[in-house]
Structures are given as C-alpha cells and as structure tokens.
Symmetry: C2
DNA sequence: TCAATCAGGCACCTTGAGGTAACCAGGTAT
DNA sequence: ATACCTGGTTACCTCAAGGTGCCTGATTGA
C-alpha cells in the first residue's frame, strides 16, 4: 500500500512525478485520450466528441500530448490537407491508469456527494 | 478498451465525472493521500512530509478532501488540542487508481522526456 | 459567387489556484 | 516575561489555465 518511493518517506519538491502529473491531469487530456481510444480521428472529429471544448483548448492540449509522446500528429497530404491524431503506444499504456480513475469517479460519485451533503450540513449547524 | 460511457460516444458538458476529476486532480491531493496511506497523521506531521506545501494549501486541500469524504478530521482533546487526519474507507478505494497513475509516471518518465526532446528538436528545426 | 469546412494562429480577458505573510488563541518550555 | 509550538484564519498578490472572438488560406459544394 505504500506509494511513496519518490524519496524515502516524503515528497521532495523536485520529485519528477509531480511535473508529469501536472501535464496529464489537466482539464481535457483524459477525455481526448478516451475519444481517441477507438482509433485515429481528425481535428474537428475530436472537437465534435468533446462538447464544450474550444479550438484553442483542443490545439493546446493536443500539442502538449504530442510533445509528451502520448499522441501522434499525422499530416495526410490529400486534397484539402488533413491532420489525423492518433494515440501512440506510450499513450496506450496511460489508458489503463486513466480508466481506473474514470471508473472510480463513476462508481463513487454517489458516496462523494453524500459526504459533501453531510459535510455542508455539519458546517451550517456549527454556524 | 472503451472508457466513454459518460454519454454514448461523446463527453457531454455536464458529465459528473468531470467535476469529480477536478476535485481530486489538484496539486496536493494525491501526495497527501500517499503520505496518509500508512496511518493517521497530525497536521504538522503531514506538512513535514510534503516539502514545499504551505499551511494554507494544506488546510484548503484537507478541507476539500474532508468534504468529499476522502479523509476524516479527528480532533483529539489533549492538553494542547491535537488534530489528526485519517483516510476514510472511501478514500482507501482511491489509493489504487492513484497508485496506477503514480507508477505510470515513474515508469514512463524517461520515455516522455525523450519524446519531449525529440519534439523540441523537430520544432527548432522547423524554425 | 457565396458560403462553409478544415486546421489552426493570435490577442485579449477572466477566473481561480496557489503562494506570501500577518495574525490569532491556547499551551508550554526557559 | 517572553518566545515558541500547535492548528489554523484572513487579506493580498501573482501567474497561468482556459475562454472569447477574430483572423487566415486553401478547398469544395450549391
């Protein structure tokens, strides 16, 4: 059950896992990976799958994922140049951990909401 | 391999998993859970385990975790009043998914850094 | 010809997460 | 008496994530 081999017992400020976690735990990365899980898609196809995302956010997040080697950007020189995004093998290995988190949120949502209600009630009683 | 039962095929804007993900994917939550994994600890003991965290950040994050039912706050009425933080059973179920992510970052850090170097090189060549 | 799609780029702005530092009450060692 | 520990709260500030809107250049269908 121990998950702290960062240093012996504490989390040092420069633990490399910190920075990497920041990179993948943003607002859209997990959902983009989910949408791409079935196969490569083009820019606007991804966009259509993610209700609420802006072009800018999608571009930025795809660039970050590309830089980190999670997705690959393939330019296809067709008539109107097409760009296809695809999960890399490295990116595939991230789907498992993401799925675990995703299913946790789905399964434990009710319990979390109950905890919140109880907490908020305790708070207003204290007032 | 499909992880998108949020809606049929796309991520709708109001998917509840989104909000919950934001709650747990912040800067300190994962590390606090890791530090508390071995057993309950007092405020300043947690603080000592997390190099770089401020009192405010720790207080805020602990409150959020408490509100979401992930950790419990136990006030012990000793001579100088002590406060102990403990992972709840619900919080325990989150350790697994977090561990998966944590180990992914540790195992794939080198490959990610290689990808970054390659990407950055490609970019400056394009310039 | 006009409009629309595709894959973005760019400038501006808001919001909130998180840091800094001061302050607090109560206890306690010197 | 005074200075420090414990577990906070509060006000203030910064910085970056992310949103909005406008621009592009090429192509293609009505």
């Amino acid at each position: 059950m121990e998950m702290k081999e960062c240093s012996i017992k504490e989390f040092r400020q420069d633990c490399p896992c910190r920075g990497l976690f920041d990179q993948i735990a943003d607002k859209w990365s997990m959902m983009i990976l989910a949408v791409l899980a079935d196969g490569p898609l083009r820019f606007n196809a991804i966009k259509r799958g993610l209700e609420g995302i802006t072009q800018k956010a999608l571009t930025q997040t795809l660039r970050k994922l590309e830089r980190n080697g999670i997705v690959a950007r393939n330019v296809i020189a067709t008539s109107p140049v097409a760009v296809e995004y695809e999960i890399t093998p490295l990116g595939r290995t991230l789907i498992g951990p993401f799925k675990a988190l995703y299913y946790w949120t789905k399964e434990n949502m009710p319990e979390v909401e109950a905890a919140r209600a109880a907490f908020d009630k305790r708070m207003e009683e204290t007032v």
